[in-house]
Amino acid sequence: MKLVAVSAGLSTPSSTRLLADRLTDTVRDELADQGHKADVDVIELRALAVAIANNLVTGFPPPQLAAAIEAVTSADGLVTVTPVFSASYSGLFKSFFDLIDPGALTGKTVLIGATGGTPRHSLVLEHALRPLFTYLRTVVLPTGVYAASEDWGSGSDAHTEGLPARIRRAGREMASILVARATDPLPEDDLALSKKKLSDLRFD
């Protein structure tokens, strides 16, 4: 099974990347518990910032960005994490998803996450990320994970409603949906394939 995380964190090290890693690790562990092996690929948008801007200008992705888009569109499950900028996802995060064909993520299982300086931004998951991924016709998990600065320092464990428990719950949710859907593959007949080929021709 292929799991891809998209992290829009801008600093190094980045708490956004840290959250992405913890979410994907948890999903992978949960999948392993259920007897499924998962390959994990993390895409750092910071490294693609210039390529993303170039794609916006020219209309086609440079090779390293094309590879990232391919990874995202071919993943079984997506973990997407963005820092909160001006009450929403960051511009870099949005620009990356703007470059993916609107139909290319249809039906994909998506776990949404965000990081911010204060817990008061936590609804960004519901008023910004969830509508974006619903528009893209993905299956967005009920549980999203928001981590404020104080969450990283608060003492909590798997039995309280702290960050570790929320990560755990989201990880389980994603794993169980991925497993359920893995045994129920969508039929792909010749017609669907040829339609896909036609839509692949569009870069916009």
């Binding site: 801007a53 170039n54 200008v57 209309g59 086609f60 021709l201």
Partner: protein, 371 residues
């Protein structure tokens, strides 16, 4: 194989002098470029069609008619003619008129146009772009092939007992190419009618062009016009040359960095790697252009974009000298090597006339049934 140039007709400030040519200067420059194309032995000049600044060529047949009077051999074409927002009746008449004046040295390339605001200026809606292209083109074909047309469609007023005048020269409609960057429907349309398919092949990576051309070739064969290899393919290309490649890079960089389409985006080096753009010596242009055949197959027409992004007329004319004297003669020779004998040349008025003469009288009604 045909070689030529295609112009977008943009009026762009020269970034090295910060001077913007006047519209009059730009229009006359396009004419000078066309005349130079004939002088240096190129086969085709094609002008774009635009109805918004900073572009000047809103009236291609006026410009091409003037060029026709001043040239003898050059094929006059468009890149592209807007089949969506132009009335097909007017296209039929304008280009038939041009055909007579140019003794048949006319073909045209259909395109949809890509700017939303232009559509409503001509009473149309960009969301209907594909439907307009299909319906208008079907009518255009009939207007050129049937003397009296009764017609009714969705997008224009019906026609009753209508005859487009003048009739096409010798009863042979101009050959049509369909230009598309990324709409598979247009490749399908070209294939359906057995018309030519042109990919602009600039600004986009080769693998994208390859997929579009492959789709067109496959569908061309599907509709029974011949083998995929016999389909009529045209490609664009974009070059800037100096004898010394470093000089070419140094001189072109400010134009590249400020070009309307990709300026302030990727570096010249990245863009050269990722797209068909060649900036360098004539030999480098020859080498890269020859690679086009690797992904598009043996094709019929190669047009280069040279006069855009504010490159001054004097420089463009120097480019054309290099193209005509050093590049195209080698390309003609090299593209002929290993070219299968059953792959046709680009259709011309003479070749279409000869084909019509050979065909049986019944075959002349083919266009009616295809439409």
């Amino acid at each position: 194989m045909q070689f030529g140039i295609f112009s977008v007709g943009d009026v762009t400030p020269d970034p090295t002098t910060v001077r913007t040519p006047t519209e009059a200067e730009r229009i006359k420059a396009m004419v000078a470029i066309a005349l130079k194309a004939e002088e240096v032995g190129l086969d085709v000049f094609a002008t774009g069609e635009h109805h918004n600044p900073p572009f000047v060529p809103s009236s291609p047949t006026t410009m091409l008619g003037y060029i026709a009077a001043k040239t003898d051999k050059l094929v006059l074409s468009t890149a592209t003619t807007l089949i969506t927002t132009n009335d097909p009746v007017k296209i039929a008449e304008d280009f038939a008129m041009l055909q007579h004046l140019a003794d048949g040295r006319v073909d045209l390339m259909m395109g949809r146009g890509n700017t939303g605001p232009v559509y409503p200026w001509f009473g149309q809606d960009i969301r209907k772009g594909i439907d307009l292209a299909i319906e208008n083109y079907a009518l255009l074909r009939r207007l050129w092939r049937e003397d009296v047309v009764d017609w009714e469609g969705k997008f224009r007023t019906p026609l009753q007992g209508f005859t487009a005048t003048p009739r096409p020269l010798d009863g042979v409609p101009p050959f049509v190419w369909h230009g598309s960057i990324r709409s598979p429907e247009i490749a399908e349309l070209a294939a359906f009618y057995g018309d030519g398919f042109f990919h602009n092949n600039i600004f986009w990576p080769a693998d994208h062009t390859k997929r579009m051309v492959e789709l067109y070739r496959t569908r061309y064969a599907h509709y029974g016009h011949g083998t995929p290899e016999q389909a009529i393919v045209g490609l664009g290309g974009q070059v800037f040359m100096r004898r010394n490649s470093q000089d070419a890079v140094r001189e072109f960089r400010p134009y590249f960095d400020n070009a309307p389409v990709y300026g302030h985006g990727p570096s010249l080096e990245d863009f050269t790697d990722q797209t068909p753009l060649t900036v360098g010596s004539p030999q480098q242009v020859i080498e890269k252009t020859l690679t086009f055949r690797e992904y598009a197959g043996d094709y019929q027409r190669q047009l280069f974009l040279m006069d855009h992004a504010g490159v001054p007329l004097k420089t463009v004319l120097e480019q054309l000298d290099l193209l005509g004297e050093e590049v195209v003669p080698v390309l003609r020779k090299e593209f002929a090597v290993g070219r299968p004998t059953d792959v046709p040349e680009a259709p011309t008025h003479q070749s279409l006339l000869a084909a019509t003469a050979e065909a049986t009288p019944e075959a002349s009604s083919e266009g009616m049934t295809a439409a």
